[in-house]
Structure formats: C-alpha cells, structure tokens
C-alpha cells in the first residue's frame, strides 16, 4: 500500500485510502457495474458474483465510484482505522 497515491476526497479534503474491501455475496446480483468501473479491482466469478482481484488494482476514488455504482450496495469499503467509508 506504501506506493499508493492518496487522493483527496471532495467532501472532506482528506486523502482517501481504502484498506479493506468486503463484497457481500448474498447482496450481489451480478450486475457487474463494479467491473465496468474498476476492472483491476473487481471481476465476476463462476457463480456470477463479484470478487476482489486486488486491493491496489485501482485508485481509491475509482474504487469508491465502483462501490457507489453497485445497485444493491453489496460493496463495503473500510479505511485504515477500520471505519466503514461506504455505504
């Protein structure tokens, strides 16, 4: 994570870092909107559920945008202190 460039969020001005991503497989319906936005981070598995490819696959803002695009809010993002960033 050390070489990941922090990106300032618009709301707080603080750099956003995502330390953990959790995908709720029960909520995921396989719409694949996360894959469209952040394909280096999310892909679909053999059961048509999204899975995490790599935590550092995309920058933090792109990952956040991918999570926000999920129509069932199945992607949970946490910062380094373990606080839930989204949803």
């Amino acid at each position: 994570m050390s070489d990941e460039k922090p990106v300032p969020t618009e709301a707080s001005g603080k750099p956003l870092k995502i330390a953990k991503i959790v995908i709720d497989r029960d909520l995921c319906i396989g719409a694949a909107s996360c894959v469209v936005i952040a394909p280096e981070t999310f892909q679909m598995d053999d059961e048509n559920k999204a899975y995490l490819v790599a935590l550092e696959g995309n920058d933090a803002e792109t990952i956040k945008m991918a999570a926000e695009s999920c129509p069932t809010k199945a992607i949970f993002l946490y910062d380094e202190e373990g606080n839930q960033v989204y949803p």
């Binding site: 618009e10 709301a11 319906i29 396989g30 719409a31 694949a32 909107s33 469209v36 936005i37 679909m44 053999d46 059961e47 048509n48 803002e61 945008m65 926000e68 695009s69 129509p71 069932t72 809010k73």
Partner: protein, 382 residues
C-alpha cells in the same frame, strides 16, 4: 433567463453519474439536474428487496439530499423538461421556467406503459418503478392475497417473486404461447415456466386481458381470473415528445459516442437509441442499471471534452426465481434477420442461447451457466 454550463434532464443513475463524472474529472461549470421524481438517486434494483422486507425502505437511497451540494450539483426535483429549442439551446420546464444551456444531457429513462384495457381506470393496479410504487406494493401484498400479474417480463418476474416471498397466491398472465417469445428459445422458456411453477406461481400462457373488474380480470377467451390485486409489468416506453426531432424507433437517437445530432447534446441510459460500436454498429436501446450507469459515465467524460465511441458490452442478470439464474449479454432480442443458436448443456437446466446477425454473435443468454460469462462475452466482442 438563467444560463448553465451543463443541464441534465433526468435524475436517475445515468444523469447522476454523468454529473458526478464531470465534476470528479475537474469540470468546473454550473451543473443542474432536472428530475421529475421528488427524491435523491435511489436504486430501482433494490425496490423489490425493500418490498420483501429484506431491507428497510430508506436503504434504497444511493444519495442523500446533501450529497449534491457537496459536489456543487444543483437539483430541481419534481420538475420535468417539456420542450427543447436546440437552436437557441434553451430547455423549457414543466413550471414554465426556461433554462439556457451550453451542454445538454438527456437521461430521462423510460416510463411504464399505460395499461389501457376497459375498466383499468376504475380500479387501482400495482406498478413497480418508483419508490412510491414499491411502498404501495409493500402495503398491499399480504399473506393470502390473490395477485394477478399482467405481463411476464422482468417486472412480472419480480412481482411473482414478491408474491412468493410474502405468502401471496400469484397467477402470472403471459400473452404469448410461451415465455418471452421475443427472446427465449423454447427450451429456456420451458425452464422458466417450470421454475415459476415450482416456486408456487400459477402460469397461464395465451392469457390476454380483455377487461378489468372489481373482482379480478377477464381474459379475451372469456376466462375470469378472480383476484384481490392486479400487478402490471407490460414494458416501458421512452418519453420522446419533449425532445422533438431526436425521436427514434425505440428511443432518442444518438451516435456511437452517445452524441445527438444537435451540437452540445448527449443522450444516456434507457432513453438512448444508440449505435452500439461493441456490436458492429447495431442500433438499439438498452434498459438496465449497468448500461445506464456506464453511459452516464461515458457522457460525463464527453462533457469534459473526450470524444470516443461507447464500447461497453451491455449486460444484465436476474435470479429472483429459484432455479432460473439468467445472464443477458449484448442484444438478445429476436431482432429482424437475426437467428438463434441454442445449446442445451444440461437438459432442462443449463442452456446457452446465442443471438447471431449476419454471421456475427451479437448476444447471449446464459441460463444457469454463469461460469460461461467470460467465454460468451469474448464471442460477442470477438
């Protein structure tokens, strides 16, 4: 008259994503979203979950009212655009106000078709498009309700799943001789019907409603279906009237980059009838969440000056009926001159149906075969 840099007509996922992408990419101009709904962005995909009580109703919202001003996006909720003068670059709103724009994004989505059988006006029916619709369905469908579902499309399937989840008794009225004649081969149609029946839903084919009465509906062959509630899922249509000469066959006409023929105008989401560069230039309109989101994103970048074809393979999925996990890739409808190439992988369970046009694969339906998604996508793109 007020003048803004970017005027976005429609506050759904396409319009909202266009606004946010423009802002996130450094766009500094004034952005105004006009939306005929009274709410910030919510997920229509989550409405059935809320109806079934799996989530609380407020969980369907993806934005809060304050999310917009944080990104300097202004919202005019509860208003719509009634006319656009493309030459003067002025949009007229439902309350009479005129707003001049430098760039216009049309992302109005599609509206449920009117149900116009005799008697329909006198008796309320359930719909499932808006937050208010979902609240009405949640209140009306109770254990033991007898529900007649008119239409067997995506919304018909959602109503069927809601009835099952709530312990209601559902009869699904399908006009055609079998399921989804415009899309499915006979093998997939048979699995769908059987999956619904296994779930406890009564399915009637050749069932055209002739009349609505207080006690239920009457079919064109004279059969009476007694029910307490009627739920309608008969498709959608794009509101084209306000947008003048952009009217196409199935939506508002855009090119492969989602640009309209008038300068400074783009079209995104369910309302766009576009030239799909991913499918060899096929012109079609696509109505699903992921496409609307991705097109909104594409247009957001176009507002920042990018000019590129939209190159996202459209895809959608439904798995609300147990035993019928469906993935749709590309154009799956039985469009003119296309042929179907169905492969039964496991009798009565696992089927892949390719849609072929001029020797090119343009779509695929995967029934209970999610593991073939990548392979099928590659066939369409290749």
């Amino acid at each position: 008259m007020r003048e803004v840099e970017v005027l976005i007509v429609g506050g759904g996922v396409a319009g909202t994503t266009a606004a946010e992408t423009y802002r996130a990419g450094g766009g500094a101009g004034e952005v105004v979203i006009v939306s005929d709904e009274a709410h910030p962005l919510y997920s229509r995909v989550l409405l059935p979950h809320a109806v079934k009580g799996k989530i609380s109703p407020e969980k369907v919202f993806l934005k809060k009212n304050e999310s917009y001003p944080e990104k300097r996006i202004e919202t005019l909720f509860g208003r719509s655009v009634t006319h656009v003068d493309y030459g003067r670059r002025v949009a007229k709103l439902s309350d009479g106000e005129e707003i001049a724009y430098r760039k216009l994004v049309i992302a109005v989505g599609a509206k449920p078709r009117d149900w116009d059988v005799p008697g329909a006006d006198a008796h309320p029916a359930l719909r499932l498009q808006t937050y208010e619709d979902a609240a009405a369905v949640a209140a009306a469908v109770i254990p033991g309700s007898r529900l007649a579902i008119v239409g067997s499309g995506f919304i018909g399937l959602e109503f069927a799943a809601i009835a099952v989840a709530k312990g209601a008794k559902a009869t699904l009225l399908n006009r055609g001789p079998r399921f989804w004649t415009s899309m499915f081969c006979a093998e997939i149609a048979a699995v769908m019907q059987s999956a619904l029946e296994t779930a406890g839903v009564e399915v009637r084919n050749h069932a055209k409603v002739a009349e609505r009465a207080a006690a239920g509906v009457r079919l064109s062959d004279g059969t009476d279906i007694a029910c307490d509630l009627v739920a309608i899922g008969i498709g959608v249509e794009v509101p084209m009237e306000p947008f003048g000469d952009l009217r196409g066959d199935h939506g508002l006409a855009a090119d492969a980059s989602l640009k309209a023929k008038h300068d400074g105008v783009w079209i995104a989401g369910d309302c766009a009838e576009f030239e799909d560069a991913k499918l060899g230039g096929l012109r079609h309109a696509v109505g699903n969440w992921t496409n609307a989101m991705a097109q909104g994103r594409h247009v957001g970048k176009a507002l920042l000056g990018e000019d590129a074809p939209y190159l996202q393979l459209t895809q959608y999925t439904t798995n609300v009926i147990p035993g019928a996990n469906l993935i749709f890739l590309g154009e799956c409808r039985n469009i003119a001159a296309s042929t179907s190439d169905a492969r039964v992988i496991e009798e009565g369970k696992k089927i892949v149906e390719y849609r072929v046009l001029d020797g090119r694969v343009i779509g695929a339906i995967l029934l209970n075969a999610p593991e073939l998604r990548a392979e099928a996508s590659a066939k369409i793109s290749g």
